[in-house]
Structures are given as C-alpha cells and as structure tokens.
Symmetry: C2
C-alpha cells in the first residue's frame, strides 16, 4: 500500500482527532504537537492530526506540524467527502484538506443507506459520486488516500450490496486503503471477521483497514478479528480515548499484535507504558489503574495465595513479562494480604522480615487497622515504609509538631485572596514558629513547614511536591465525609508517595505533607 514500511500491519493513530471527541479529553495546540512527536518516536505509522474543516485549532495544527521533524510517521489530515451537488474542486472543506499539505489524507463517506437518505438527505447515486470524486481528486493532487467507510458494518448488515457499492466507489477513485468502520461499536467479532473476508473477495487487490469503537467492550477484539481476516491497517487511540465509550485501544492492540500474534509493529514495545502515562498527563486525565498491559494494577497481586505463587514463579499468574511493555510487578498491601505481601514489600524497602515473625504480624495488623480508617498504601509506599520503620523501631523522630493554623480570606472588592499558614514545632529543645503565604492552604502549609525545618535540615531544600491528589472516601455525607490525600514528593532523582486521611482535607493534606518530608529525613539517617 505505501512506501512506508514492510510491516505486516500498520498502526494508524487518531488520538488527536477521534480521541478528542471523548468527554474530558481536550488538547491544546501544544499538547497535540507534543503527542504527535511521541507517537512518531514510538513507531506509529500514521498520525491523524485533526479535521481542518471542523475547527481553526486543527488548521493551525497542520501549519505548526510542518515544523515537526518526524522520523517515521506520516501525518494524515481528516475530512469528509465533498458536499452533495457541489463540484469537488469548489468544496471549501476539501480545499482545506489539500492546504494542510500532509502526505496522507483520510476521508470518510457513507456506507449505510439509512445515513445517505436520513442524515445526508441525498441519493445513493450521488453518495457514490461524492466518494469517487473526492478520492480521485485527492489522488490527482498526489496524496496517499485512506478511505474510512463510516458505519460500514451496520450498512453491510442492512444491505451488503449497497455497502459494497459505496466501498467500490472509493476503490474506483483510487483509494490506497479501504478502512471498515464500526462507527457505532455494535458489531461482534464473528461478524467483523466474516464481513472483512467478504469485502476482500468482493474488492480484491485493495488493502483493508479496521476502525472500531468500544461500545460493547469489544473494540480491541474486533480489531484483532479483522487482522486475522486480513486487515493490514489498525486505527485506534492511545488509552482508547474517543467518542462515547472510546475507540479501539491501541495500547492493548499493539502488545497483542506483537507479543501474542508475532506481528512486529513497533521497535520498542517497552516504551508502551510511558506513552500511555504521557498521554494521560498531557491531557490531564487520571490513569486508569485497571488498564490492560499498562495499568498500575495490571501486574498487581493482592490475594495472599497468588502472591505466594508469584514469589515461587512469576509466570504462574502473569501472562507476559511485565517489563516487555515497560510495566512492573506490584505487590499490593491490603486487608486481603497474606503476610507474603508485607514480607515482599519490606524486602523491597530493604528491611527484611521473617515470615511468621511477631514483627510481620504487628505490621500487618497495623496496616489493616489504618486501612479500615480509610488509608490506602497501594500508591503510598512512602507512608508504608514509615509505618514499618516505626513498628520496627527503625525510626527517629526528626521534629515534634506542636500546632498549625491556616487562614484564607476572600475579598469581594477585587483584592486578591490571602492564604496564610503558621507552624509551631520543636527540633530537640529548639522551638520554631513560622508563618508563610501560598497559592492555597496546602501550598502555604508546605512553605511554612519548610521554613521551620530548613535551619535544622538544609537538605530538604531539594525536596518538592510533584503531585497532589484528593479523594473523597465516602461521598454520602458530602463535605463531612472522610478525605484521602495522596502526595508524591521528589528529591530530583527519586519519587515517593505518602497518604493522609482525615474528616477534613487540610489535616489529611498536612499528614501526607509531613510524612513526605519525614521519610526523606529517615532515609538520610
């Protein structure tokens, strides 16, 4: 199909276009450019940047994108066929596609008679002409043309003849690839395989691709079924973002193709997890912990029995080597924990415990108590380390807190709000009483605490907060509910998570803040 590569299957990413149709998935121009560079570096073959005809941000993207130095990927501009009863050369939306100056242009057309008559409100004949003309026009201008057959499976189930005729129009126009789209996500894998085969018999010689959605939680399965049936292009998005329930999740399809079907599609699969987190971070979306392959819990073991088996033989409860996708085994500490979890965690922390020892039991007991109060150590290894250190007497109190106070005053006369915090503490016999302002209460507390400790512990100057997360544990009695705060601190080289729980967010934040600095000081001792 293209000069691009001899890959058995090519990856077509539409995170920047279809992905942004998803709720809460918004990208600035800069975000889009950063993601495009990452996708290229990861080895994605096609990057669909946007729909110039739909909004100015996308027009701007393609102007800026010309400056990108992509090593491997081809940029694709997305759009629709010409309007009904309009010569293609006079269609402004089609002109914008050419002005994007991308090597690839992807256009979608209608395959479902229902859409032609009810939504487009034109005739079946005109629809075919719209498809044929637009593809041919873009080919004449030297573009590689990908044709997205919207609603192909629904259209085919409604009338195979009509769906195939619409698709043939694209082939007649010279399309380089015919992409079958399960736009509404309602098709089952068996149907996808059967219909994908039928298309290749009806229209031999033109490569086909697959574009699926996750409305039945089958987006990945449908893409895999199409590849088994001969599809050579897979369209999807990173982390499955997209309209409604989202698009086919490339983050799952890629390792399946490469590890389970022996189709080499990317050079460095071990960068998959980082790519997944990168897209979440750039789009300011929380990471989905249960995500296949890349999720925080994808290789997490909680049940005592499983942990025990995994210790004997990782393969016993892991379908792949976590490192192959850049992930890692994660032993969760929780009420279901056998002692094995604590022992392994302690060993990771360099504080070996003996199985069945009194210490191990005490620590486990303490963890269970605190978890009942709402603490969660799964993402707060720092607080867990402090807990183990305290229980085992491997802890020296670096300072004695006396009191803290925060004040926030909001003026309605346009005066900036004032947020202030005071901290009173002792290091040995020396007392410190400091005050500081901040962007918010927690920031002010952080500043006041540092100011109090710096004279005694100048090394904390290197410590800073990199993440702050709030979770209401019981939303039922609203603001009186318990609040769990997770903080991630860094000293520039290492990160560690700490947790605080309280009926009010300020105290919860304070507990996590103090743990973050306390742990750093313990480790320096």
């Amino acid at each position: 199909m293209s000069v691009l590569s001899d890959k058995p299957v090519r990856l077509y990413d539409t995170t920047l276009r279809d992905g942004t149709q998803g709720e809460g998935f918004q990208l600035s121009l800069l975000d889009k450019l950063r993601i495009a560079e990452r996708l290229d570096a990861f080895g994605i073959d096609y990057i669909e940047g946007g729909w110039p005809g739909s909004n100015p941000k996308d027009v701007e993207f393609f102007q800026e994108a010309k400056k990108l130095k992509l090593a491997h990927a081809k940029l694709a501009a997305f759009g629709s066929t010409r309007r009904a009863d309009t010569p293609v050369e006079e269609d402004p939306q089609v002109r914008l596609l050419l002005e994007a100056e991308t090597p690839v242009v992807t256009i979608f057309g209608k395959s479902w008679e229902l859409h032609v008559t009810e939504v487009l409100r034109t005739t079946v004949e005109e629809n075919r002409a719209m498809i044929r003309d637009t593809v041919a026009y873009l080919k004449k201008h030297g573009r590689e043309v990908v044709y997205d057959a919207e609603h192909f499976f629904d259209g085919y189930k409604d009338s195979p003849e009509h769906a195939l005729n619409a698709l043939k129009a694209a082939a007649e126009g010279g399309a380089d690839c015919l992409v079958l789209c399960d736009t509404n996500g309602g098709t089952l894998p068996g149907e996808v395989m059967e219909i994908a085969k039928a298309v290749q018999e009806a229209i031999p010689g033109v490569p086909i691709g697959i574009h699926t959605h996750n409305d039945c939680e089958l987006g990945v399965a449908n893409a895999v079924a199409a590849v088994k049936a001969g599809a050579v292009q897979v369209q999807g998005t990173i982390n499955g973002y997209g309209e409604r329930t989202g698009n086919c999740n490339l983050t799952s399809v890629i390792p399946i193709l490469q590890l389970k079907m022996d189709l080499k599609v990317v050079p460095e699969l071990e960068k998959l997890r980082d790519l997944s987190y990168f897209v979440d971070d750039v789009s300011n979306n929380p990471h989905f912990a249960r995500a296949a392959f890349v999720g925080r819990t994808a290789f997490a073991h909680k049940g005592g029995m499983h942990v025990n088996a995994v210790q004997k033989l990782a393969r016993s409860y892991e379908h792949i080597e976590p490192g192959s996708v850049g992930n890692e085994q994660n032993i969760l500490v929780s009420e279901l924990s056998g002692q094995s979890n604590i022992l392994m965690k302690a060993e990771q922390l360099g504080i070996p415990l003996d199985k069945g020892s009194a210490e191990a039991k005490t620590v486990l007991q303490k963890v269970k108590e605190l978890e009942n109060e709402g603490y969660a150590y799964e993402a707060a290894g720092g607080s867990l380390e402090l807990l183990i250190r305290r229980e085992l007497g491997r802890y020296e109190k670096p300072f004695e807190l006396k009191e803290f106070h925060t004040s926030f005053r909001q003026y309605r006369d346009g005066h900036e709000p004032v947020c202030e915090a005071t901290v009173k503490l002792y290091v040995g016999d020396t007392g410190k009483y400091t005050v500081a302002e901040g962007h918010g209460v927690v920031n002010a507390l952080d500043n006041a605490l540092r100011e109090a400790l710096l004279p005694f512990y100048p090394e904390i100057a290197t410590v800073s907060l990199v993440d702050y997360k709030v979770r209401i544990i019981d939303g039922h009695d609203a603001t009186a509910a318990k609040t769990r705060v997770l903080i991630v601190s860094t000293d520039g080289t290492e990160n560690w998570g700490t947790v605080g729980v309280s009926e009010n967010i300020i105290e919860a934040s304070w507990i996590a803040l103090v743990d973050g600095i306390d742990l750093f000081l313990q480790r320096r001792k």
Copy 2:
C-alpha cells in the same frame, strides 16, 4: 446441569469473591449481603459469596446469608481441592465448604503441569486424585458442584493431554459443570473457541462454563467466544472488578448475550445501569464514565456533527436504544460543541434557544471561555443553567457576597481541631455577617452561608449537599495547580450539580456551594 432454569446460558457472579481481589475493591459483610440481594433481584443465577477457607469474614457471610430470601439465585461457596496427601474428609478447608451449607460448591483445581510441580509441588497423579476425590466427596454430600479448571487454557497450550486428563478427573468425580478458566487473561478469542470445542469433543455430555480475565482487554470477547463454542455458564463480576485488570465484565456480557445474541439471560435488562452504579456506590468506587452500555458517556455525543445527526436520527450513532439498559442519551457541552449541543441542553432546561441566534452564540462563547479556565459542565448542569440564565437575562441576583474567611487550627495536645468560617453578604440593603464551625472548611462555609441566608430565604432549609468531588486539573505544579470542585445538591426530590474552579480548593468549593443555592433560588422565582 441444574434444576434452576431453562436458560440457554446461566450467569455466575463472583463479584463478592474474585471481585474483592481487585485493588480498591473492598466490601464489608453488610456490603456483601446487600449486593447479593441485588444480584438475585436482577436475575443472576449463581452468586459466589466467598471462600470460607481463606478468611473469617467469608465464613460469617455464609452464616448471615442463610437469612437472605433469594428468589432465584443459588449461593455458591468457593474453595480449592483437598490438600495433597490428605484424605478429603480430613481437610479442614473442604469441611468449611460443607459448613457453608450452600446448594452449590465451586472448587478450583490445577490444569497446568507447571503449577502442579512448581507451585503445588506434588505429582500429576496426586493432582488428579485431589480433584476427583474432592468433587466426589461434595457430590456425596448433595451439593451441585462447579469445577473451576484454573489456568486451563495455559495448561492446554502447554500440554492438551495433561489439561484434559485433569479435567476428566473432575468429570469422573461427578462435576455438574466444567468451567474453563483463563486465569492469567492471556488467551485470544480464537484460541478460546478452538479449545472450548476440543474439550466438548474430548469430554462429551458434561456442560462447560467460561471464566475469563481482562489482561488483554479481551475478557468479554473471550466469554462471548466460549458461548459461541457451546459454553452454558458465564462467570464474571459486575463492572469487571477483580484481580489485576479485572474479571470478565458481566455488565457488558449480559447485554451482548441478550441484545446481540438473542439469548435471554435476565428478565429486566433495563435495571442493568442501576445495578452497575449500586455496586460502585456500595464499594465506594468512582463510576467509570466510559464503561460500555452503562457508562455516563456510553451514549454521550460531543462532536457537533454527531449531535446534529443524532437529533435527526438517534440510531445513526447509537448501536442500541439507551433505555434498554437503563441508560440515557447525553449531549455533552464542550469546546467541540456545535450549537446543536447548547440548543438541546437549553431545551432540556426549558429555555429554548433559536439555532444561529445571537444568544446561542454568546452562550457557546462563554462556555468555551470557561472551559479553557478549567470548568467542565458535563456533570454540572446546574452551573450551566445559571450561565445560560445570566447570559439571557433570566437571572435575578438573590444576594451580594462581600467577603468570607476560613480558619483551621490543629492542636497537637490532643485538643480537637477547630474549623471556623465567616461570611459577609447583603440581601438588598440588609447586611449579614455570620460565623459557623464545621467538620471541615467547606462544611463550615456551608453552615455560615446558610445561617446568613435563612432569614431571607427560609426555603433553603430543604437544600443539602449530597456529594462533593475534588479534582486537581493540573497535577504538575502540585498544590499550586488548579482545583475543580463538583458539588451535588438536593432539595429532597431533585438533584443538581454545580462546579467551581480556582487555584485553591477553598475558593473553588465556595463557588460551587454558592451556585448550588443560587440555582435553587432562581428556580423558585
């Protein structure tokens, strides 16, 4: 297989057992009993309550569960085969299974030689005896026995002969159903179908079931493949909770079986969404917005073009009728919105707008501005209504805010923390200056605000907060990042969501709090 029903496929729920192996999915005894009742009412055929041999909470569950009046479902106790080299009648774990006094007992055994030798550390022959003896012993005691063949697919791929022999041992023991488990979730749908067929040829006459995991995002697809191959029992969990990436998601499999494969498995599918939310609420887990069928965005339309088409013809971008699973169409307001979204939303709010009208454009413009500041109206219809009212002059200011102040003092001498808020506002020319304490800052502010307004608007006595959510929009500069607060208020009959965004959580909460009461007063006018 059982007297239970003439259903073509029976649903086996393990939310209460395998589900609780998932991170962050913990259930109290009461939670488990409440969920069991809901599962029964929904028409689930088998409810696996827990593993009496693994923890005391589960033993207690089965004692309490005897009092449940289940209309349809059968309770199953879960456990393992007898220990190696121990007579089954002397195995305490097996005895606990009988003492659970459930009509059904499910036991798992090893199918994978690797596990037999490396994890169990016994011989292949003893493993078969363990399976055969345990099944036969439970049958002798009158139980319906479900046999979970752990790691069956991995075992079969390693050695078909060994895997089938282990499974035959269960059949010889008299198992009522042989459940093939993809314990590590690494198997593809094609393999599942092929192996499920091979099993039925090798062991004719015994019904088979399927138990899958989602490690390749194929848990649902693999269950569907097994049903196509003849499986008559599907095991899974509500919302797919479970170890690692979770179990087969019954919330997706059920509508696929019923709506796509014409297999009637539940009497009232339209209760599916409520069941999904119920399990999230009881387990204090956030609802996954992108969940297939039941997610908040499962039928959400954001792209202007799609919204436009959906207005013409819902079927054009919806694979099923949302009401059939108890869900509903949801028009999202966002930067991608065409005017259609605003128009539909306004109409839902009873404030019709004309397409292309100046008002519609102004509102859309305002929404886009605020969304760039971090606002999100998708879950805050209340704030959107206020915005539209203000833009259209359908708004009367009920009070004028002057100033507010909050103070939080934490004492380290064991004295309870003191959290106080003051509010200064005017209603007409009358000023009010109130102070109140609270569990937390927001609670204190809420109390002070109500105290100030009650004399003027006694009707707000009926208004209260039911939910309070905090989201850090940009976690990069930690506590200085922007905070989005979502509040849900109620007057006992109706709920409405409001949103506030600010660099600090107190102001963000304040904005959402005030909007919540403001909207209530506007509607009363």
